[in-house]
């Protein structure tokens, strides 16, 4: 089979790219291992809601039309939203088609799937940033009798044995799961490394509203001092609760969650926690306040917005005098460890040598310059701070589709499928 462009993955990024390619009259297919929005269907826990409000899902040619713009979608609602988008734009999705290999072929690419092969001039990797749960090497030392699972395997508290739970990682997933399990009667210890503290609501507005309004989410990758650092930042410590409450380490401490430092090792059935808890909390508080300062400055320069409350600051993160450094799992009744330690993409099918030492695709704002005609989408800060958001993939797709069209024009002027 032959087409001009193969898009791998029918999540928000692949679908947004499909919309732009259709607009440019570029013949293409979207290959999807499951159904559109597959990761949202199969790799998320039951109570999870999107961390971005409903209004913040402006896809090319599509947006939220419901009556609760400030609410947060449940997973079924997220799946429905993206499936409806795929239908509305009539995206040429080939569902249940798993890519097993992508390699160069003559001047273009050959994509092998479990449903036949595709030849194409250009390819867009939109298979996501979170395919594999990343688990630190200390997980190899988890003692017998302690269950170990990742956030991808976690569904709800019924799955988790009574008693103690150690949640490792205090970003969006770890804090939400710690909150849910503590409220379900488990006794949760949360291992806290570097994290990004951020309030759900500030001065009466959702934090995403502020970052959108002040242009923070539109910041481009080529204007950032240290792009490697920002691309590796942990996810924002946010939750999309219907009551819009903020989740942070203080709210967890209040319901009885015990905070410990980063899990540094497991030896003889004892977890060893870093003594750096106080500093990672201080760093997160300082960074949060810098963000709030920049919001306040933006308000001062852009007055006349309505419904904005007075500026205020949140309590510093409270850390007990001597947080635990050593926890004996059996003596303290910890029967489960949940690894909320991030994700990485799966490129086991990618047979083009474009991966760096860390196994990530080398690219310049989504253009894989070492392999002309190859594009990447949906990675942290790919082109903009919002590149991984449903709301952010549209601008990236517009830019990259324009580059893709120029590439096709430049390389195959005779066979161009472009319509003037």
């Amino acid at each position: 089979m032959r087409t001009t462009t193969v898009i791998i993955g029918a999540g928000q990024a692949g679908l947004a790219m499909s919309w732009w390619l259709a607009k440019h009259s570029i013949d293409h297919v979207v290959l999807e291992r499951g159904e559109p929005a597959n990761s949202w269907r199969t790799e998320r826990w039951d109570s999870l809601r999107l961390l971005t409000p409903n209004w913040q899902s402006r896809l090319p040619g599509y947006r939220y039309q419901g009556s609760d713009p400030d609410g947060f979608r449940t997973m079924p609602e997220t799946i429905a939203f993206l499936s409806d988008y795929a239908k509305a734009i009539a995206a040429p999705v080939r569902s249940h088609t798993t890519v097993t290999s992508l390699r160069r072929h003559v001047d273009g690419y050959e994509v092998t799937t479990d449903k036949g092969n595709w030849r194409c001039d250009t390819v867009v990797i939109a298979s996501g940033a979170c395919n594999i749960a990343q688990v630190p090497s200390v997980s190899a030392s988890v003692p017998d009798g302690v269950d170990s699972l990742t956030t991808m395997q976690y569904r709800n508290p019924d799955q988790i044995a009574d008693g103690g739970v150690l949640v490792v990682g205090a970003s969006a997933s770890g804090t939400q799961i710690a909150d849910e399990l503590q409220r379900a009667g488990r006794s949760v210890t949360l291992a806290v490394g570097e994290h990004v503290r951020i309030p759900r609501v500030y001065r009466g507005k959702d934090i995403q509203w502020w970052m959108d309004a002040a242009g923070v989410l539109d910041e481009r990758y080529d204007t950032i001092d240290d792009i490697v650092r920002v691309r590796n930042l942990p996810s924002l410590q946010l939750a999309g609760y219907p009551d819009r409450r903020t989740i942070d380490l203080n709210s967890l401490t209040e319901i009885g969650v015990k905070l410990a430092g980063r899990l540094a090792g497991i030896n003889h059935g004892k977890g060893q926690f870093s003594g750096s808890l106080r500093n990672v909390c201080a760093l997160a508080d300082l960074k949060m306040n810098r963000l709030l300062n920049s919001i306040d400055e933006w308000v001062a320069e852009n007055p006349a917005s309505e419904g904005i409350d007075a500026p205020h600051r949140f309590d510093a993160t409270e850390v007990e005098e001597s947080p635990a450094l050593l926890v004996d799992f059996s003596r303290s009744g910890i029967k489960t460890i949940i690894w909320a330690t991030g994700f990485r993409p799966d490129y086991s099918w990618l047979d083009v040598p474009v991966l760096d030492r860390k196994g990530l695709v080398r690219h310049d704002g989504g253009v894989v310059t070492e392999s002309p005609g190859m594009y990447l989408m949906g990675m942290p800060f790919l082109r903009r701070r919002k590149s991984t958001l449903i709301d952010g993939v549209g601008d990236d797709a517009r830019d990259l589709s324009a580059h893709l069209v120029a590439h096709i024009k430049a390389t195959s002027p005779l066979s161009t499928p472009l319509v003037a």
Binding site: Q272, S274, G275, A282, L283, L286
Partner: protein, 188 residues
């Protein structure tokens, strides 16, 4: 790296350009980033020992300090020792504070903050029943370390707190003390 206050020259005596250049270069040459730090220690007598530090390995070859440094360590008279040097645990505190203070200066330079004075005082609690073997439930090491910085600089309190926080984030000795390290001691 540039700010509107280009006329003001911040100089904390740290060559940040060289450090940033090294970081850039080492991203693509991870072998050169592998260092080995060394010390040799000789027993002098009693609890008194002398450490000698002169060479280390890094950037792919053997390196030498500009001169050989020596440090005496001993225990105080309340331990029935001759007190011919600081105790090893005090040298650990000195190592931590020196590392953090170097970080404060470097981060301040990078953030264009002029330092006028930086002083750290440290205190670490210890229950010596641990090292005496008097109570197996008491650890040998510190119960905790408290570092207090007094910093005079052209910056807000919040910016100074951020300097101190960032220096901890990038400190080797802070990491060595706060996280476990495998230690192998052999007899040659």
């Amino acid at each position: 790296m540039t700010t509107a206050t280009a006329s003001k020259t911040v100089d904390n005596g740290v060559n940040v350009e060289a450090l940033l250049g090294a970081r850039e270069a080492l991203i693509n040459a991870p072998e050169a980033a592998k260092f080995k730090w060394r010390a040799s220690v000789t027993w002098v007598g009693g609890t008194h020992s002398r450490s000698t530090i002169d060479g280390f390995y890094g950037l792919g070859e053997e390196q030498k300090h500009r001169s050989t440094f020596t440090f005496d360590a001993d225990h105080p008279e309340v331990f029935a020792s001759a007190d011919k040097g600081a105790t090893p645990v005090e040298l650990v505190l000195a190592g931590l504070a020196s590392c953090l203070t170097a970080g404060v200066a470097a981060v301040a330079q990078n953030r264009e903050i002029q330092l006028r004075s930086v002083t750290a005082t440290l205190e670490a609690g210890m229950d010596i029943r641990g090292i005496l073997g008097a109570d197996p439930d008491v650890r040998n090491g510190f119960e905790g370390i408290k570092v207090t910085y007094t910093i005079d600089a052209d910056a807000s309190r919040e910016d100074i707190e951020a300097l101190v926080a960032q220096s901890q984030k990038r400190s080797a000795v802070y990491d060595i003390i706060t996280n476990p390290t495998n230690v192998t001691v052999e007899v040659a």
